[in-house]
Symmetry: C2
Amino acid sequence: MRNFDEHTITQAVIASLSATTNPRIRQISESLVRHLHDFVREIEPTQAEWAQAIEFLTAAGHITDHKRQEFILLSDTLGVSMLVDAINHRLPDGATETTVLGPFYVQNPPEFPNGANISAGTDGEPLLVTGSVRDTHGNGLAGAVIDVWHSDEDGYYDVQHTEAEGPNMRARLRARDDGSFSFWTTMPAAYPIPHDGPVGKMLELQGRHPYRPGHVHFMIGHGGFETLVTHVFVEGDPYLDSDVVFGVKDSLISRFEHLPAGPAPDGTVQERPCRHLNYDFVLAPAKT
Amino acid sequence: MRNFDEHTITQAVIASLSATTNPRIRQISESLVRHLHDFVREIEPTQAEWAQAIEFLTAAGHITDHKRQEFILLSDTLGVSMLVDAINHRLPDGATETTVLGPFYVQNPPEFPNGANISAGTDGEPLLVTGSVRDTHGNGLAGAVIDVWHSDEDGYYDVQHTEAEGPNMRARLRARDDGSFSFWTTMPAAYPIPHDGPVGKMLELQGRHPYRPGHVHFMIGHGGFETLVTHVFVEGDPYLDSDVVFGVKDSLISRFEHLPAGPAPDGTVQERPCRHLNYDFVLAPAKT
């Protein structure tokens, strides 16, 4: 194996993979080499451009720590995360559509009963969220585990605040016997993804803003069903058509209705105006 | 821009690049998105595999520092560095072929006169290197700047030794009026690229060894000519046909002749047996 030119080197690298024992690793490695080489042959980078690519990846690695994941941001902003999501969620008709997990999910959020306020002490417009978890036949899924998380009115998640005061605007609830659930929180806001690193620089050079439209995240699991990872987006948000991570689907946009002070749909009486989101989630059967 | 599926998302991401002002950045971004998405569609990664890819890149970033560059190793071992090299060096007939720079070049090496020993104090078989620097018409290039660097007999470069004793086995020489040069050093050895990080793990999973055949690096510059970055490989090295970075070309393999003690080709008298490499380098005219 010698004397490779810009055309023969691809086959040479693929030939070097012939001793790969795991067939999946061999498949991924071969495909990566073919597509990566095709990309390089197409753009014909100068040595200086190649060095800039190495520097970009290095900077992304160096800014990444346990609270910041620049490679996920890169995957998100290049549409790769949503592509992987789509490939892994070819769902039956009627099942709720999926979107990206995002970088702000925290394992095992605090448990709350239905009706609780999960953002106590947070400034912002009060928001009542009601809904249900059902199968594709419309049956309520009693006990379904509902993880919810969202930003504050300034667009920040609890984990982005350096003065850590513990979890806020995130909770685990369980669906009632009829599949319904409800909780109080505050309105989320549109926000920019962290853009003070290499991905932010990339977006700037590409003439793109770093914003995501306001949304509430849901992860809903129940035995025998695919775990649903999705958002519900705020109808009317100005960024719905230019979400920097390409995550918006019409079926996931919902009205966050304005309600006057007084009786609320959950039977409580509110002293100030509030908002109300109602969304019915439908889980797909587990793949066998 | 909403409701993307696994087929429409690629065009959506490309459409988001329409405000890119720099045409080269737009071209590279679009090509990257197309090839990256094609790769993902071809391998259909699970969410777990996608997360492993993120972890791999993160680990590569975290092991990279001013002395270790894992992303260059990744580019080298996937054949990308040699591909970029080939694209950037479509040379006229007769010009010396190029190969990768590698991670061990140090700017502004110490200057030595012709005939000097550039590895004084290093254990190893003495090696006399003689040769010339010429244009494609055979004219010697007086004053051409010749940077040279190589490993010790154990396969390590000076910068890999933690007890830094200053530069060793690296030098800058200048061609004599007739284009010739000569220096003494020690024989280089085959060596593994650093393989205690994610790239080493990748090679292991791909059933590949991490070795490069023994070689001496040269970077040769002269006004009006393309700077030549290349190696001369040791004839007979067992890794010539499986160089982990795909850098070997027949024209760059040379005999490192065994000489008995006694008079050497440079007019000196040696007390012990030594080796002798003679190589004539030919520079291509600068691109206009």
